[in-house]
């Protein structure tokens, strides 16, 4: 409540929550105390004009109003004005009071801004997606043999695009998980997806653009597989495996492999169209990465490696493979693999040994000393190795060198080193930091061997 001279004559206790003043601190002071400096002069004049025409109304219709807290910070407000005629004298007298009702609208403003932002983004995305659809129709038309052919291919490509978008929409456009994208893009081609498709890799959230591009590539790969490759034959299978390298000092790289097997004998294509250009040039360019195609007789192989930084949403990525996405349980991941375990802590050695055995591996070791590890590394035909780095004062490097020489894939498992401090000699080699959970260790070893 404010009198005709602009002095505060009454406030309710809520004022403290809103403005930070105790009621007693405000009584008798000018109402401009509650207004940011830059509006104060103007407010004195506006107050006068309200007194001359004291109709009940919202203050400053159409303008943004701000309140000023005791600590000097500002917040958006909405203010209703009511004239209270105290004396029964004609309105506009100095002793009339004005009741100002102040509402803090910070939350509403924020949500309005958010809605505006979403609308702008939506407009932008819509335009972009229409542009993509348009060039897709042009590209598809160029390599199609008939109108029916065009209709089929074009519709399938639009479906693939829409499928990636559904995944993104489900996560409110933050991104799409690699595993979800792989499964969703392959689903239309598989009657019984679980038996024929094996996906394995860390849980990673692709940025929207990356999801769109990778989604299209997976769609084209699946199309080719169903026409010429593993999915054209009942016994054919597809394995999709991805990893992120924790390389010392260098930017991390994402790698995804598509392996077909069990299909008809593979022959390199004689003619390449837009699909080929999607899986090769377009993804390579989109991710500034490298794509390799191998037309091995036993099955087609596609591999993409690219810098991880631009592909994945921040926070959406679990660098340490904490949650592995996989179709099958740990029980079979290392079936029949001979794994060398080097670990000088007996308790830890036992538990690593147990978890790898549970995953079906044959354990070589565990070796607790450098000598023992070197002997085992040299003697046995190994599928892979997990190496503790510090071994009672020695470091495991000679063993690692021996394995590298024999082309045995290995990973470090250390409490002292991480990907940033690993010596440059081992740049690109995976490293898990202790403690890691059994799933992480098994998963990392399985990926390592699968990608070798």
């Amino acid at each position: 409540m404010v009198d005709g001279k602009g002095r505060i004559t009454f406030v309710n206790p809520r004022i403290e929550t809103l403005f930070g003043y105790k009621p007693a601190e405000l009584l008798g002071n000018p109402v401009e105390t509650l207004i940011p400096d830059r509006y104060r002069g103007q407010h004195v004049a506006l107050r006068g004009s309200f007194s001359r025409h004291p109709e009940t109304r919202p203050m400053g219709a159409g303008r943004d109003l701000y309140g000023r807290r005791k600590n000097g910070t500002e917040f958006p407000v909405e203010i209703g004005l009511n004239a209270v005629n105290k004396t029964g004298n004609p309105a506009g007298q100095d002793d009339d009071l004005i009741l100002a009702t102040v509402v803090d609208i910070t939350a509403r403003k924020k949500s309005e801004e958010h809605v505006r932002f979403i609308m702008r983004e939506l407009a932008h995305r819509t335009k972009n997606i229409l542009a993509v659809v348009q060039v897709m129709s042009w590209q598809t038309a160029r390599t199609c043999t008939s109108l029916e052919d065009f209709e089929e291919r074009f519709t399938q490509r639009i479906d693939a695009l829409s499928c990636s978008h559904d995944l993104l929409a489900n996560k409110e456009w933050e991104g799409a998980a690699v595993a979800d994208l792989v499964k969703a893009q392959l689903a239309p081609f598989l009657d019984n997806a679980n038996e024929r498709l094996h996906v394995h890799g860390p849980s990673l959230l692709l940025k929207p653009d990356a999801a769109q591009n990778l989604g299209l590539a997976l769609h084209e790969l699946a199309t080719n597989a169903s026409k010429y490759g593993a999915l054209s034959h009942p016994s054919g299978r597809i394995k999709v495996v991805w990893t992120i390298d924790g390389t010392a000092g260098a930017p991390r790289r994402f790698r995804i492999d598509w392996h077909e097997n069990g299909g008809p004998e593979v022959r390199p294509p004689t003619r390449t169209g837009f699909g080929h250009s999607i899986i090769k040039e377009i993804v390579a360019r989109a991710f500034t990465g490298e794509v390799t195609l191998k037309f091995e007789p036993e099955g087609f192989i596609w591999q993409l490696t690219a810098p991880a930084d631009r592909m994945f949403a921040e926070n959406g990525e679990t660098v340490d493979n904490e949650t592995m996405e996989e179709d099958d349980m740990n029980t079979d991941l290392l079936r029949g693999q001979r794994i060398l375990v080097v670990e000088d802590d007996a308790l830890l050695a036992m538990s690593v040994d147990a978890m790898l055995q549970e995953a079906g591996a044959d354990i070589i070791g565990p070796a607790a000393t450098l000598d023992r590890a070197s002997t085992l590394a040299a003697a046995d035909k190994l599928s892979g190795a997990i190496l503790d780095i510090r071994l009672n004062g020695d470091e495991v490097w000679p063993v690692a060198r021996l394995l590298a020489k024999n082309d045995v894939p290995f990973m470090f498992y250390s409490g002292h080193y991480d990907s940033a401090t690993l010596p440059a000699e081992w740049a690109g080699r995976p490293i898990l930091t202790k403690p890691a959970r059994p799933r992480q260790i098994v998963g990392a070893l399985a990926s390592l061997i699968a990608l070798h």
Binding site: H124, R125, T126, R285, R310
Partner: protein, 124 residues
């Protein structure tokens, strides 16, 4: 058939969507142009804009989280005509600095792209 309306012209293409970039490149090549780029990042685009011999440029405005303005300024200084292409801005919301510059709002057909480029080259 599209005739080679851009025969022997060197066109800088800046577009961060790989699918669009490759398609634009093919469209322009079909029309006889020599394509510089496509550039996907601002750095790359700036380098091409500063160093390459160019007849015209087609500039996507938003690149990831950056905007194309520094590239446009380099081209303006070098007196290379250019056309903006975007899903974001339209004639009304283009910054005042670029008033009068042609802008294509996505999605935009092949013919319109070629028309816009031949237009800026002819009126240059």
């Amino acid at each position: 058939m599209i005739s080679e309306v851009l025969y022997c012209h060197r066109i800088l293409v800046v577009e961060d969507n790989a699918l669009l970039a490759i398609s634009l490149e093919e469209m322009l090549k079909q029309a006889g142009a020599e394509v510089v780029g496509p550039a996907v990042t601002l750095d790359e685009a700036e380098r091409f804009a500063a160093e390459e011999e160019l007849s015209a440029a087609l500039l996507d405005i938003r690149l990831d989280d950056e905007e194309i303005w520094p590239v446009a300024r380099v081209l303006a200084v070098r007196n290379v005509p250019f056309v903006f292409s975007t899903g974001h801005f339209d004639q009304d919301s283009l910054p005042a600095e670029w008033l009068g510059r042609p802008i294509l709002v996505k999605p935009v057909g092949r013919q319109k792209i070629l028309d816009a480029l031949t237009d800026v080259i002819r009126h240059h």
